[in-house]
């Protein structure tokens, strides 16, 4: 957006400092079509520049860094923050509020294996599984083990980022990998198979969060933000072909794959009771695995706009 030099008349809340810029995190992966639409079609700029507010889209993709930036005041909106990251940050004292759901995409999160002998999650007993710790993928592994009546320590879990996990699986160092996003089709192509997805196990909730301070001082801006988000969803519905094309260009994923993958995502921003239950399940998972020590009330985390 362009910078406006003339002072803007202050419309509301004389006590709060005037907002001159909005920093909204931009996460395009695994396949965050609404964000892509918002950024590429300048939806936020259209909404806010008329008030002299400059909008920027820092690409902070890792949850912990996003919450750190939010706490540092370098970020106003976490547009697509993993449920786990939101809970961990909030529990550790970051003043953040969930103002909406970004997506639920159980199918986008998978456990994959290359060894043909491993046919199901049950075959993972005594095997090595690699993937990022404390994330939805980790949660998926534990949930699926439980579903298959395996104990947590009956597989050897190895913590590593997704790209390394893929590499380790390709090299035969681990038997299965926890994979999400564009790495999934890539791995499929190389002969790996999906053992299970999150479907039926968890919802893989991604949320939209804002700093508590910001929400208190500028509830109107938050409201307008959500309206823009709605508008981008609207646009997605109206012109799917154009949107898929846009997403394919932005992510480098082929159009066909985009079309295939987009079906896995539910972008409805409304926070349902089921979402809250899922977030609570996530907190439970973190607590059980010693990643969280103090429990918080999920409901208090959610701001009703």
């Amino acid at each position: 957006g362009e910078k406006k030099s003339e002072p803007q008349p202050q419309k509301e809340e004389a006590k709060a400092p005037q907002v001159t810029s909005l920093k909204i995190s931009y996460v395009k992966l695994p396949l965050n079509v609404p964000s892509i639409v918002e950024k590429k079609r300048n939806l936020f700029e259209e909404e806010f520049t008329k008030d002299g507010i400059q909008v920027t889209f820092p690409e902070i993709t890792e949850g912990p860094k996003m919450t750190a930036a939010l706490a540092a005041g370098s970020l106003d909106f976490c547009n697509a923050l993993g449920g786990t990251s939101a809970i961990l940050a909030a529990a550790n004292g970051v003043d953040l509020k969930i103002i909406g759901m970004y997506s639920r995409a159980p199918k986008a999160f998978t456990i994959m294996a290359k060894d043909p002998k491993i046919k199901s999650v049950a075959d993972l007993k005594g095997k090595k599984v690699a993937g990022p710790k404390g994330t939805i993928l980790h949660q998926l592994l534990l949930a699926s083990l439980q579903q298959n009546n395996l104990k947590t320590d009956e597989v050897e879990y190895i913590n590593m980022p997704i790209p390394s996990a893929v590499s380790a699986m390709q090299a035969g160092n681990v038997d299965a990998a926890l994979i999400a996003g564009p790495a999934v089709p890539q791995a499929l192509e190389s002969g790996a198979r999906i053992l299970t997805t999150g479907e039926g196990l968890l919802d893989a909730t991604i949320v939209i969060a804002v700093s508590g301070d910001f929400l208190k001082n500028h509830p109107d801006l938050v409201k307008r933000y959500l309206q823009v988000h709605q508008a981008s969803l609207q646009y997605m519905q109206e012109k799917p072909e154009e949107v898929y094309q846009l997403a394919a260009e932005e992510t480098g994923i082929s159009l066909a794959e985009v079309k295939q993958m987009v079906g896995w995502y539910d972008f409805n921003p409304a926070i349902t009771d089921k979402d809250i239950v899922d977030l609570e399940k996530t907190q439970e998972f973190l607590l059980q695995n010693d990643m969280l020590t103090n429990k918080i009330d999920i409901k208090k985390l959610i701001a009703d706009i």
Binding site: E59, T61, A72, S74, P163, Q170, E189, S190
Partner: protein, 254 residues
């Protein structure tokens, strides 16, 4: 001729790569065949993406390196010339010298925001020590005999520094600068982890998330190539400007 000799080892590696890919000895999904990497390189170049990334990274490397020199060099001179300061500053620097800049990213964001400043801070943290320590060593190693010459001709500290210490310390300083430049490039990945939307480090991180090893390899080769070129120019330039450095082994007899 010298350039040709330098190509021997890369060519051997390339041959292994081609052979390994053809015989499928090398995993195609982690190290794609040369043809594919070449194609990607051509595409990225043609579309101007690579140029955009390398331009912004070049700017960051140069700015970061320049700022590092701006901090590290005078500090090394200060400590080297006033050895009373050393016990105050050395332990602190020594302590800092072991800390991974990546671990400090949240703090850097707190202090410097998520703009260019934090990125430059990461580069500076990664680059500071070779420049500092090598400059300091160069200064401290300066022959006392030659310094006494300055002394008896009424040189002030400044004159001694520019006319005796600097020329004597140059080989060390240049090593520090070369190492520093190298670490500037290396720190790009860490720096461009902070909310970057462009830069060669960003390109690599992004490609990693997109599972595009071909792009990663193009990125690595680009960094290596530009790094080498800059280092080469730097080396030639310093030899040109300071002809005696290249021939330092000939000093011996003086």
């Amino acid at each position: 001729m010298k350039q040709l000799k330098g190509m021997v080892i890369p060519l051997v590696i390339l041959l292994f790569w081609i052979a390994g890919s053809a015989t499928e000895m090398i995993n195609q999904y982690i190290i794609p065949p040369p043809a594919k990497v070449l194609q990607t390189a051509i595409d990225l170049t043609a579309s101007g993406v690579l140029l955009k990334h390398i331009t912004i990274s070049l700017y960051r490397v140069f700015a970061g390196f320049f700022l590092t020199v701006l901090f590290a060099f005078p500090l090394a001179v200060l400590v080297g010339m006033n050895q009373k300061l050393e016990p105050y500053i050395e332990p602190v620097l020594d302590f800092l010298g072991h800390i991974p800049p990546i671990a400090c990213i949240p703090m850097l964001i707190l202090w410097f925001g998520i703009g260019e400043t934090s990125k430059l801070a990461v580069i500076i943290l990664a680059t500071f020590f070779p420049v500092f320590l090598n400059t300091l060593n160069g200064i401290l190693s300066c022959s006392k005999q030659l310094l006494e010459v300055g002394e008896v001709f009424g040189f002030r500290a400044r004159d001694k520094f520019w006319r005796i210490i600097m020329p004597a310390a140059l080989p060390s300083i240049i090593v520090g600068f070369r190492l520093g430049l190298g670490y500037s490039w290396r720190s790009l990945i860490g720096a461009e982890l902070i909310a970057a939307a462009s830069g060669i480090g960003y390109m690599i991180i992004d490609a990693e998330q997109l599972s595009r090893p071909d792009i990663i390899i193009v990125g690595i080769l680009t960094i290596g190539f530009f790094g080498y070129i800059i280092d080469y120019c730097f080396f030639k330039l310093s030899n040109r400007l300071l002809p005696w450095v290249g021939e330092r082994v000939n000093y011996g007899r003086s």
